[in-house]
Amino acid sequence: MTTSAPTRNLNVSSYIAEAIRLEMEADDAIVVLGEDVGRQGGVFGSTRGLQKRFGDRRVLDTPISEMAFTGMGVGLAMSGYRPMIEIMFVDFIGVCLEQVYNAIAKNRYMSGGNVAMPVVIKTAGGCIGSAAQHSQCLWGTFAHLPGMHVVAPSSPYDAKGLMAAALQSDDPVVYIEHKALLLSKSADFAHGAEVPKERYTVPIGEAATVRDGGDVTIATLSANVRDALRAAEELSTEGIDVEVIDLRSVVPLDTATVAASVARTRRLLVVDEDYLSFGLSGELITRVLETLGPSGIEVVRRLGVADVPIPAARSLEEAVVPGATAIAEAVRAMAS
């Protein structure tokens, strides 16, 4: 737990806007396209101030035409720009996935390496009470489709650093911010609360061990890192010593860090706010199994949204979305 108050206490969305501003200052090729990214500065504020600073051409408020402006990212990239495309909620990706997975993610390959696609898809995921069509995470969906990196930060520090890394990447990066985190302030975080004002990057593809422990390994990401840390605090009072790994990137997935931890704890719990099946949890467990062999593992478990849409009512929502209580319970069952 961070005990001292962080130097700055802004919304996570402000740190993201800061990252974008700094990168845009450093690189004229970056342009931002999306709904409400300009005049409003984003419905969650994560592009606030950019249009004032860079003008309404470099920060373009688009109509509700995701297929067109996602495809614009392809043409802009081939013309030498580095577009950042905002899909307001990740749930809307079904109207434009085509340009994402058939063009942005494949053009480098299909061109035999001749054409680069430095495109950032920035989008918001996660539950804040808005039911089945506005609460999904879907990083597993992007991760299954080759040609893109996929990141989902859990802290103010990573939110800024991974955005900078995404904008500097010459590969497509899907950046999935969590709505609940966007609206949280530094002081709400037990990890990564301190955010430098300067440019820096957090490397894509590297997990971070945000809490050391020897009994059980929890691998998770995004808002669930907070829940896992809370659960770990609680469990520590019961004598269970939990290691919490923040995956940070889904693609590339840092199997090595997780496997090294499980090699010690022999117990792995994967916590994933995305749908449970055919996604991150199965992939990570399989990779750890491939790395350590069956004899290297004693217990595996996973918590996720168990293949059910997100319901509207709070009572139902809490029953399907994994939180600190469910995590603590799962760990207890594994440790005993």
Partner: protein
Amino acid sequence: MSNQLHEHLATMLRIRAFEEACLEGVASGEIHGELHTAIGQEAIGAGMAGVLRDDDALVSTHRNHAHALAKGVPLVPMLAEIFERATGLCGGYGGHMHLFDRDRLFSTTGIVGATLPVALGHAYAMVLDGSDAVAVGVTGDGGVNTGGFHESLNLAGALALPLVVLVENNDLAISVVSSEVSAAGSVERAPAYAARGQRVDGTDPVAVEAAFRAAVDHARAGGGPSIVEATCHRFRGHYEGDPDLYRSAEEKDALTAHDPIARARRLLLADGATEAELDELATRARTELEQALAEVRAAPAPDPAGAHDHVTLLPTGGPR
């Protein structure tokens, strides 16, 4: 006219009271997700009310309460759904953006542009049925720039399907001024789809009713699709909690001049109605909603044990 307007005023007051009840739910935390109200846009719902039959279909958007009421969706279950109760229209599973009334062929979606393909399916079903029912798809001015709008209207035009596209044009898609990012108006696009096009003052329920009825009749008679564009004003932020800083204070102050309820009152008073009589209408609407709210609040939250029900009939067999 005055009788008709009198009735429209009553409907508008009921819609407003409904929306205000919802605002209470946001303030109290009983509604914990996004909420979009039609405050300021009530004349459109009022103009639609009574025009459609139960066997006509209506597919609405994220800003759907007025349309649901216009289609005759029962008020208390609807309010209960929005208030996340077990007694809600959808048992609390759907919430404000996902209302389904199977018997009245009413449904909604929270995805912009997604209403029209669904309405098109209803329209096709009516042709297959050999019925003279019609399908209505609602969209905002933002939704007309989606691919779904184009694909649906083209198919409706090519097959002469009984589809009415109602465009609620408040000239805002959240913060984006739609006319600034649209190459042409919705009505001007009608010829591209062999569709009838009509623009109407969406603060005048009598005019809305006339235009909407004409489009519905046209579809019923086998004339094919129409676009009815109703111009209107969004009084509040896009959703509750939207700081709405993209409009100036003056702009927002000027909105009240376009209040369809004040307008109807003015006209009815000029036409001989009494203040008391009109106040009585308002009271009646508020009373209905107070009682509904009380009933809704007495209902339980959905049982979390059922959270995994209803995904599919046959279990998908995934791990829990």
